[in-house]
């Protein structure tokens, strides 16, 4: 190990195959490490800056040049944020809408995904194609008619209207992901055995397949929850009055009003609050990420 690299990086393992490598590999490795460090800075700085600001008292934020490592921390911005916007109420709204939408779309998606994964029937390819198309084409191309549709039903500025929009928005994604899961996780022998035993098709699905696939279904439910939780576009259109707003719209309002530097720690506190629930459920689905995300797109 004759090259000069930082100690931590010259551990065995990192350069385990260095002896094989030629001179240009050393250069490549150093370059890759340098770019990776720069990228890590890019990836982590915004999150650190949000957390830091949300715990900083006002007088420290006003200091120039900005303080990188706060000497004093306070939870005051969190209570202050709730005074400026009804933050906790917004979080509850978001939770309610997202959980309901995730529940409904997962149940509907389950039955459709199962038959699309398992049976060949006339029209199955077309149905699958339409679902894929709806999943791919951006939401902005269908917001206006849906806005009028919800308005005509008198559901503008109601939870029901937003939940309906979320179910429509998340369903194609949930169907595709679950279809991939059913194909890979549930062997066809399972319900073949049940059918021979005299089960009906629905009974085989309900009693045999669903219990086996519960973990995957839970993961899909969490993903649809995240879709709804993260959404800004639909919520800003369909539910933008008073106390019923979702937290993402609350953040958007906060951003648009500007608020100035004196409120920025409260603003960042609201951002932390709007991120934490997503983070918590994210930890649960972590190990499903790769399989789940590729299921919908790679294997159709």
């Amino acid at each position: 190990m004759t090259i000069a690299v930082p100690n931590a990086l010259s551990r065995p393992g990192f350069f385990q195959r260095l002896s094989f490598a030629n001179k240009s590999d050393v250069f490549t490795r150093v370059l890759v490490i340098a770019i990776t460090i720069a990228l890590l800075f890019y990836i982590l700085l915004p999150v650190y800056w949000m957390l830091k600001t949300s715990f900083q008292p006002n007088q420290e934020i006003r200091v120039l040049p900005p303080i990188w490592f706060p000497t004093e921390t306070t939870a005051h911005p969190y209570t202050n944020a709730n005074r400026l916007i009804p933050m906790w109420r917004y979080v509850l709204n978001s939770l309610f809408v997202s959980v309901t939408a995730a529940g409904i779309s997962t149940i509907i998606a389950c039955s459709a995904a199962y038959v699309l994964a398992r049976f060949r029937f006339p029209g199955a390819t077309i149905i699958l194609g339409l679902i894929l198309l709806t999943n791919l084409i951006p939401a902005i191309t269908r917001v206006f008619p849906i806005y009028f549709f919800i308005q005509n039903m008198g559901l503008l500025n109601s939870y029901v209207g937003l939940i309906l929009a979320y179910v429509g928005f998340s369903l194609p994604f949930a169907v595709l992901m679950l279809r991939g899961y059913f194909e890979s996780a549930a062997p066809p022998e399972l319900e073949e055995a049940a059918l021979i035993d005299g089960c009906g098709y629905f009974e085989a699905f309900w009693r045999v397949i669903l219990p086996v696939c519960l973990p995957g279904i839970a993961a899909v439910a969490i993903f649809t929850f995240l879709n709804a939780w993260n959404d800004f576009l639909w919520a800003s259109l369909l539910l933008n009055q008073g106390e019923m707003k979702t937290i993402q719209v609350g953040i958007g309002d906060f951003a648009q009003e500007g608020g100035g530097v004196q409120y920025v720690n409260a603003f960042m506190a609201a951002c932390v609050v709007a991120t934490v629930p997503a983070l918590v459920v994210f930890v649960f689905v972590q190990r499903w990420l790769v399989g789940g995300l590729t299921a919908g797109s790679v294997k159709t």
């Binding site: 339409l130 191309t141 206006f144 993260n230 993402q248 719209v249 953040i251 991120t275 997503a278 797109s297």
Partner: protein, 299 residues
Amino acid sequence: MTRQKYLFCYLMVAPAMLITTALGIYPMLFSLWMSFVEYDLLRINQFGTPFVGLDNYVEVFSDPRFVQTLFNTIIFTILAVAATLGFGLLLSQVLNANYRGRTAMRMLVCVPWFVPPAVASAIWMWLLNTDRSPINFLLQDAGLITSNIRWLTDSATWGPFSIPMMSIVAVRVWNGLPFAVIFLLAALQSIPRSLYEAAEVDGASLWQKFWYVTLPMLRPVLAILITLLVIGGLGSFEINYIMTGGGPQNLTNIMAVYSYQQAFSFYRFDLASAASGMIFIMTGFISIFYLRSQLKRVA
């Protein structure tokens, strides 16, 4: 037996199909129809919605702001896709290599994934605040700049590029990078080790292994990823809408924001639909090609 099976299949798929049609396919087509009629909320009671052919498209294309917006959207998409791919390829290699602390690295790289786009916009607005941006102070300390960069408000342009556009692209890439990295990592893990071993026997350098083994093996996955990123970029909305609202001087305006503003600020749902119709045509075209190649592989 077959009839019973088909009946079961259709019953099971019916609710999903009903919702996908009512809240997906039908609104998309209705939106397209709106772009061919007059749909001005301020005139609709008096004049209804007469068919006007391509007039709405002619009207938006004669608006220089729209043409600029269309170019912005394309440049925004190209820059964001290119940066996401470049960074994604590099980081997925790093996360796939063998070293202590790899799990921690994987988690750190995934951090922006669970930040909602509205929050990502909010954080970056504060981080890029002209007078208080830590990045400006770092650059000043390094002697690279003499006056603060106005990240989101500088209206100087270099051809189609401007500082606010770059900032917005940086936020978009930041938010979307983890998805690309994990997507590519999954693909890297499925490349057989024997290919690399064979290359090593032949004395290939790291770069050669990447160029002659990794990239060719990644090609199908890269095609999918690029398609998804391009479609996502063309329909992107939240970050531009929240951070700049399309400004300064329309420099960061993109199609979805233009469409949204035409609809809900000026009540011109016909022009809004013409703009979103452009997104529909572009993304629909790409999607159809994508679906054909995907469905062919299944059949």
